[in-house]
């Protein structure tokens, strides 16, 4: 609120993303709780779409502003998960998968992404070493990000030697369990014409909850649909995108996202990090924040935090902004479950 220079009595609505508050803390119904904590009496709503919870909240906040229902919306999210043990956290995260068909057969959340990675390798090739480069890159990007959970480097060998969680994914292929929160203030043109960055496109896609019911396991069509809508909404095509923040809950997820966003052809993004293309000094910087992998993944906060990070990258006050001085168009991608819920947003430097 202070960064936006917006007083609390100007807020028309509060949109809040959270995934497992009931399971982690016995607390649901976060809308009023969060508004209270902001000193705001405006209508407040909680959104739950697994890991895309606050991505969906941002989309609805944008629509409320676009449709003239609100001039000022505070939108964000939060999650607390580090106070439960690994077994309990694994069980909570598994609720984003299909309880009847998948969790009942021993599928964990890393297990579900491992099934997708296995299918991808079978369809297109690629190796654990290729994926390890994604983790190495994203840790390197987080070194100067004061909001990152891990401001520490990892090596390719660290990733390859880490304990296996669900083959082919190891511990350092996975984002951490994180506590965290995010918030941004979205305003209408009528309220303020001097904002540095505009949200110009939004898209959302859904897919079957269970992987077994999809025609392909090596691609993520919900992201393809969300991206098409977001690009159309913004009036751009993928070639206009200068940098992206994608949902790298696992290293393989970054690969799936880049292909589904139309930034790489299917089967081509697997080597992008290894070749240096997606590093902050590469042709298409990906996850300059450190991504979920190193910035952390406070599930319900993540979608909005990507928009916050992208805003700072574009307006020039992010630790990695110096690497992307000419960037004017950024895309954020948030994926819930095994990409059964996806949001894609386009941000542009205001002209």
């Amino acid at each position: 609120m202070s960064d936006a220079d917006v007083p609390s009595d100007a807020v028309d609505a509060v949109y809040f993303g959270n995934f497992v508050g009931e399971l982690a803390d016995g607390q649901g119904h976060h809308g009023p709780l969060v508004a209270e904590s902001l000193g705001v009496s405006a209508p407040a709503t909680r959104f739950e779409s697994a890991c895309a919870s606050s991505g969906v909240a941002v989309r609805h906040a944008m629509r409320a502003v676009e449709h003239g229902d609100a001039d000022v919306v505070v939108v964000g999210g939060a999650e607390r998960m580090t106070h439960v043990g690994t077994g309990e956290a694994t069980a909570m995260l598994a609720t984003a998968a299909d309880a009847i068909h998948e969790v009942s057969a021993g599928v964990t959340f890393p297990g579900a992404y491992a099934l997708m990675a296995d299918a991808y390798f079978d369809a297109f090739g690629g190796s654990r070493r290729d994926l390890a480069h994604v983790a190495v890159k994203n840790h390197a990007h987080a070194l100067e990000n004061e909001y990152a959970q891990f401001q520490s480097e990892v090596s390719v060998d660290d990733v390859l030697d880490a304990p296996t969680v669900a083959a082919p994914l190891g511990l350092l292929d996975a984002c951490p369990v994180t506590d965290g929160a995010s918030a941004l203030v979205l305003v209408s043109d009528a309220y303020a014409r001097d904002a540095a960055v505009e949200l110009t496109g939004s898209g959302q896609g859904s897919d079957t909850l269970a992987l077994q019911d999809r025609d392909t396991l090596s691609r993520t069509p919900a992201t393809e649909r969300a991206a098409a809508d977001a690009y159309r909404d913004a009036g751009i095509d993928p070639s206009a995108v200068d940098l992206v923040e994608v949902h790298d809950c696992f290293t393989c997820a970054e690969v799936f996202a880049l292909e589904a966003l139309g930034l790489y052809d299917p089967g081509e993004a697997i080597t992008a990090a290894r070749e240096g293309e997606t590093w902050r000094d590469g042709q298409l910087p990906v996850n300059c924040s450190g991504g979920l992998k190193a910035k952390g993944h406070p599930v319900g906060a993540t979608g909005a935090s990507q928009v916050v990070e992208m805003t700072r990258l574009l307006r020039g006050d992010h630790p990695n902004s110096d690497y992307v001085p000419d960037a004017s168009t950024g895309v954020t991608h948030s994926a819930g479950g095994t990409v059964a819920s996806t949001t894609v947003h386009v941000l542009e430097v205001a002209r």
């Binding site: 077994g87 309990e88 068909h101 890393p110 099934l115 296995d118």
Partner: protein, 129 residues
Amino acid sequence: MSQRETGARTRDEFCRAIETGDPFYLACPDGHGSVPPRRVCPDCGAQSLTERSLPDSGRVRAATTVHVATSAFADSAPYVTAIADFGPVSLTGLVVGTAPDAVEHGTDVTVGIQRVDERQRPTLVFEPR
């Protein structure tokens, strides 16, 4: 099993049918396959679903060896979970009766039911043919 109209079938009925050796899937008039619990075809929204016999054999589409399990499956870890294509439907199951590294894409499996988790709920299992 012949083709018979059904209102809706529960997951328990689906598992029991596997246990008694007469597994089925649901087909809509356009031939889309699905598995219970369904009242409506997830592909096209058709509200008329018919029970059909599930093919005897499925083929592995993807597999993973899970090392870090939820508490319900902790005693079984590491274990292999796979998605297998049975033609009109794919199923997700725990692979039993073989070494983890023996499961590959294209491995043919049959489906059964075991009660392996801590609460003894029915778990779909695959066994290589």
